[in-house]
């Protein structure tokens, strides 16, 4: 047991990319590369979105990134999370403010992510309070946290007691593919954790406890057909480890943060951006997650999605912080677009719930 980390955070490496403004300069061809790709807003204008503007449909998902602290340092992490991120984690006061907002509004789904959100000391209390409000709670659990320390061994029981939907990353049913992205030892620990989740009823037929897996490519290529990947993951995980799960969400790697760093290091950036651009699918635009989600950062600021959050692109409407939350202003805002958005519109499209087209 135990994980051998794949990399270090951009911050601890003092990488220029730890500065989000620098990442945006790269994406726009103004640093490290002079390659300019067509503006995403122009592309969606051609696809019929008037003036290249994207508007929300209705906010249905309240996604909180409650901290960047994580027991893993995955090579592609868009959050630049890791064990060294001890400061950027949401405090009790902000979580209480989020509960106030949830109590006052008809937003039915709370999607908790990180980092490893379970490492936030207020995590369990917050889940219980959300459930008391009758909200559906989803946790983006990296699986290995469950077996990382005795104090987390009972997480499957806790999740089950509170009917939490578990969404977990597993980039491949092969140990080699998974560990290459997430760290040596991650695959074995993930298998143990999934078996523990199965043991309390997660992912089982006729059970209400949902265990959904997230697939993302372990390199600079696009995800294949989601249904086909799901059936192969089900077959292989059942055959090799007697593991069951509900759905597989295929997610495209976004060209930001550590994945951007990996591509620049390996000379893959321009090819990958061109791949995203060539695969631009106009019919995926309408289903992107920023249209029905609001993303909350550890410090209470509001963003269109977790990726905009990691690029520090705050919402443009009145009330950019949970202390000034204004649902109607948010629902009429213009979504902030930039070149990384090509990641969500390539092929069958991509969102936190998998493909969209």
């Amino acid at each position: 047991m135990g994980i051998h980390q794949k990399t270090k955070s951009l911050t601890s490496r003092h990488s220029a990319l730890a500065d989000t403004f620098f990442q945006l300069k790269v994406l726009n061809g103004n640093a490290l590369t002079d390659k300019h790709f067509p503006l995403f807003s122009k592309k969606i204008k051609e696809a019929g979105f008037s003036d290249g503007v994207l508007k929300p449909t209705r906010i249905e998902i309240f996604q909180l990134n409650i901290g960047k602290l994580c027991n893993q340092t995955c090579a592609h992490c868009h959050v630049d999370a890791g064990p060294d991120k001890k400061e950027e984690n949401m405090g009790r006061e902000s979580l209480e403010k989020c509960l106030e907002i949830l109590a006052a509004h008809d937003i039915m789904t709370v999607d908790i992510t990180g980092g490893a959100p379970e490492m936030n000391p207020h995590f369990r209390w917050f889940v219980v309070e959300c459930r008391k409000l009758g909200k559906k709670v989803m946790v983006r659990c990296n699986l290995t946290i469950i077996v990382s320390n005795k104090k987390f061994h009972d997480l499957p029981v806790f999740f089950a007691e509170h009917q939490v939907e578990v969404v977990s990353s597993l980039p491949h049913y092969s140990a080699h593919r998974t560990d290459a992205q997430r760290g040596d030892g991650v695959f074995d620990d993930s298998i143990k954790a999934m078996q523990m989740l199965n043991a309390v009823g997660y992912g089982k037929e006729n059970s209400d406890l949902k265990l959904n897996l997230v697939y993302n490519p372990t390199g600079t290529f696009l995800p294949g057909n989601q249904a086909s990947l799901e059936s192969e993951f089900k077959r292989q995980l059942k055959r090799k480890f007697d593991i069951d799960f509900n759905s597989l969400y295929a997610i495209t790697n976004m060209p930001i943060s550590r994945f951007l760093d990996y591509m620049l290091e390996n000379g893959q950036y321009e090819t990958y951006m061109q791949t995203l651009l060539d695969a631009f699918n106009p019919s995926a635009v309408a289903g992107v997650m920023c249209r029905n989600t609001i993303s909350v950062g550890w410090d209470g600021y509001l963003y269109d999605c977790d990726f905009n959050q990691m690029l520090d692109l705050k919402v443009t409407s009145k009330g950019t912080h949970i202390n000034d939350f204004d649902l109607s202003a948010l629902e009429s805002r213009d979504i902030v677009l930039n070149q990384h958005c090509y990641g969500c519109t390539a092929g069958a499209g991509s969102s936190c719930g998998g493909q969209v087209a």
Partner: protein, 112 residues
């Protein structure tokens, strides 16, 4: 035109342009190609692995690049891909070796 090699990776992207000089045939070919690689009795992943093996047999560098990416996209891993290439290699080796029966027949006819 600055062309240094017979095979240029960029040329793969121009494959679709073959229709510029003979459109009806190109259209028929690409329709057929698309139909062949759809999920059917075989999965898309199985078809991509077969294509990868055949690509090695016909030694097409474009096809090798395309189906290496294709296999990974469809969820295959390195072990499966290398096994597929070994299948191609084994058939190649076998198809040479099986002719040795002809050699043996002929030799047996002319030696004491």
């Amino acid at each position: 035109m600055d062309k240094k090699h017979y095979f240029e990776p960029e040329d793969l992207k121009k494959f679709g342009n073959i229709g510029e000089w003979q459109k009806p045939m190109a259209d028929k070919f690409f329709d057929y190609y698309g139909e062949v690689f759809k999920e059917g009795a075989l999965t898309e992943r199985e078809k991509a692995l077969i294509a990868l093996a055949v690509a090695h047999t016909v030694q097409c560098p474009y096809c090798i690049d395309a189906y290496t990416s294709g296999c990974l996209e469809k969820g295959a891993d390195e072990e499966q891909m290398m096994e597929a290439v070994h299948v191609a290699a084994a058939i190649r080796a076998g198809s040479s070796l099986v002719y040795s029966t002809q050699m043996m027949n002929h030799a047996k006819g002319i030696v004491m």
